[in-house]
């Protein structure tokens, strides 16, 4: 597994991203983080992990494979998440001007290195 902090710091170079955390999927606890001031990493970790877990159940119920990427869109930005194996989730918080397409590609690449 590559150094997670370095991967997160690379993510932070994507325009509009306010930070990213690597989260334990089962606990919603932070494993590693790279966050701008003002972003509540613990809240990001706990809430995103819980959302991903609920989505896993919903997609399983729909007979689909597990989520590989999600974007929760809101007025003030987005929460992006991708699983890194069964135990971890990579989460990023994006502002409204973020390049989500690039963030997605970077996150999927990072997830592959972490898993």
């Amino acid at each position: 597994m590559s150094n997670p902090v370095q991967l997160l710091e690379r993510l932070s170079t994507v325009r509009g991203l306010r930070g990213s955390v690597l989260v334990s999927a089962a606990d919603g606890l932070i494993v590693a983080e790279s966050l701008m001031t003002g972003v509540d990493g613990r809240a990001v970790a706990a809430l995103a992990a819980s959302l991903m877990n609920r989505l896993r159940r919903a997609t399983e119920s729909a007979g689909r494979r597990e989520p590989v990427f999600l974007q929760l869109q809101a007025q003030g930005g987005s929460v992006l998440a991708t699983p890194c194996g069964p135990d971890l989730v990579l989460v990023a918080v994006a502002g409204p001007d973020a390049n989500v397409g690039l963030a997605r590609l970077e996150m999927l690449e990072a997830a592959g290195k972490v898993a």
Binding site: D27, G28, L29, R42, A46, L47, A49, S50
Partner: protein, 153 residues
Amino acid sequence: MRTVEPWVTEPLERFLAESSARLTLLMTSAGQVVAQHGFTRSVDVMTAAALGAAIMASTGEIAKLVGESNFLSLAHQGARQHVFLSAFETPRGRWIGLVVFDAESTVGLVQLFFERLVKELAAAAPQQVPEQQVLPENFERELNASLRALFGR
């Protein structure tokens, strides 16, 4: 949910709604119950309160052993249910929270919302009331009054 202290009600209701906790107990560090949610028998409440207070007391001793001032919280992971215990300061002294949760929540969420509960309790607590000495003859009357408040009987 039942509380002995009315000002605890709203913050605790918000915590329960957000955390999806199955059982919650707030008690003083001496094991006196302040509020409970989810318990159906008073004997379970008393047992949980006594054990929770004892666990936190033991944890405090371990902290001293390793040179820490204190360990404020700990979590136990079970197969289906999990326990989160945390001590916190209130204007009424040190309290302990015991939270039992299952797959509907995570320790991260419980911790997150427990911290908010602590802040809200600090803000909601009325001004300090002079502590009344608990005399043996008052103790049983106070205990029974607490149980009635907690179980609505």
